[in-house]
Symmetry: C2
Subunit: 213 residues, 2 copies
């Protein structure tokens, strides 16, 4: 199986997201142009992506949603369980724990870590919080492969280093800090404050433009 | 003043973030290659960006951090107050409210909205929660220009429509739903679950590669 490029993986997950919504709304079929519009890519791109799948659509009804999702999931190999851990049980950490509880059967946060004695040994959304000193042992024992970082910026690199030493293969960092990781470990940075600052910048610009009209 | 492209704005905010950390750590000067390494862009890119500023560096010491930040902030025009509102006071919403309390003097979340009667009229991190029915009136009265959406996916488009009618110029959407907005309204989508699914995908791939070695 060849490695699918990151952008394609992202589109595939977005297709899944949209198809899931449609399925819940009672639809059985979808047209490629609907998918394109919803996901924000060109219809040509959707059709190119579709050529990877054994999927038969008709011009009258479009593509069968359930089979489509089956094909997507088999390409994304999300049939097997992926174990994840979360470092930093603040509000953001708790939001992620509660989101993943039950909603994604194949993605499971098996342990969380924090420094705060008030949080250690408590259970949030079904997930036990361990002291950060237990991180490396717990991650190795559980064979967790994904680490989610929701600590303050100043503690993010240290959390990442511990996760890498413990053997995780991929990290999602939500702390507003740039991390350095060894090659071969996948990293996705999500900087919520950066997005908000950008939005504020463009909001100011848009206001000025209107005033000048 | 010309409009700075989105990617440049993003780099400028990242420079600010790094310079802020350095300043807090007691540094007074920074080299362009340090900045490049920390922010993850090429030294050439940093030098091109620097040509926009009236900033004198020396080969021995690098650039003075305080003046550098002053130049960045004046380009980003973040001297004036930007008023924002937040829709959806779950864990994620609360995390954002607590982050912005006091930390960013020029970015202020002036109101939050929720449906839940338990939350309405309560104050979280200094921000009062109003019933969602008050959104349009409150946003217009406060002249808020940025909306942050932290509601469940199924309610995200409706929240966005209300924000746009009320006059916001920019939206940051953290709900896992693709939004449609009229042209001229800036949109940034942050999909935390998509990032985690992508990380899980690459973690699986990396594991398989190692097993094949």
């Amino acid at each position: 199986m060849t490695r699918i490029p990151q952008r394609t993986v992202e589109r595939f997950f977005r297709y899944c997201q949209f198809l899931h919504t449609r399925l819940e709304a009672g639809s059985e079929f979808v047209f490629s142009h609907e998918l394109a519009g919803a996901v924000g890519v060109s219809p040509e791109q959707v059709r190119r992506d579709l050529m990877n799948f054994r999927l038969k659509g008709t011009p009258q009804r479009g593509y069968p949603i359930k089979e489509f999702m089956g094909e997507l999931y088999s390409h994304l190999e999300s049939g097997s369980l992926t174990k994840m851990v979360l470092v930093g049980v603040g509000n953001l950490g708790k939001a992620i724990l509660s989101y993943f509880l039950k909603r994604r059967p194949n993605l499971c946060i098996v342990a969380a870590f924090d420094l705060d004695p008030e949080k250690v040994d408590r259970v949030y959304s079904g997930c036990r919080v361990h002291h950060i000193g237990q991180l490396e042992r717990t991650v190795s024992r559980e064979k967790a492969t994904v680490g989610i970082i929701t600590v303050p910026a100043s503690a993010a690199q240290e959390a990442a280093d511990m996760l890498v030493r413990a053997g995780v293969r991929a990290i999602v960092n939500l702390a507003p800090a740039q991390l350095k990781l060894p090659p071969g470990v996948f990293l996705d940075q999500i900087d919520i404050t950066l997005s908000i600052e950008k939005a504020a910048y463009f909001a100011r610009k848009n206001s000025i433009k209107e005033q000048l009209r």
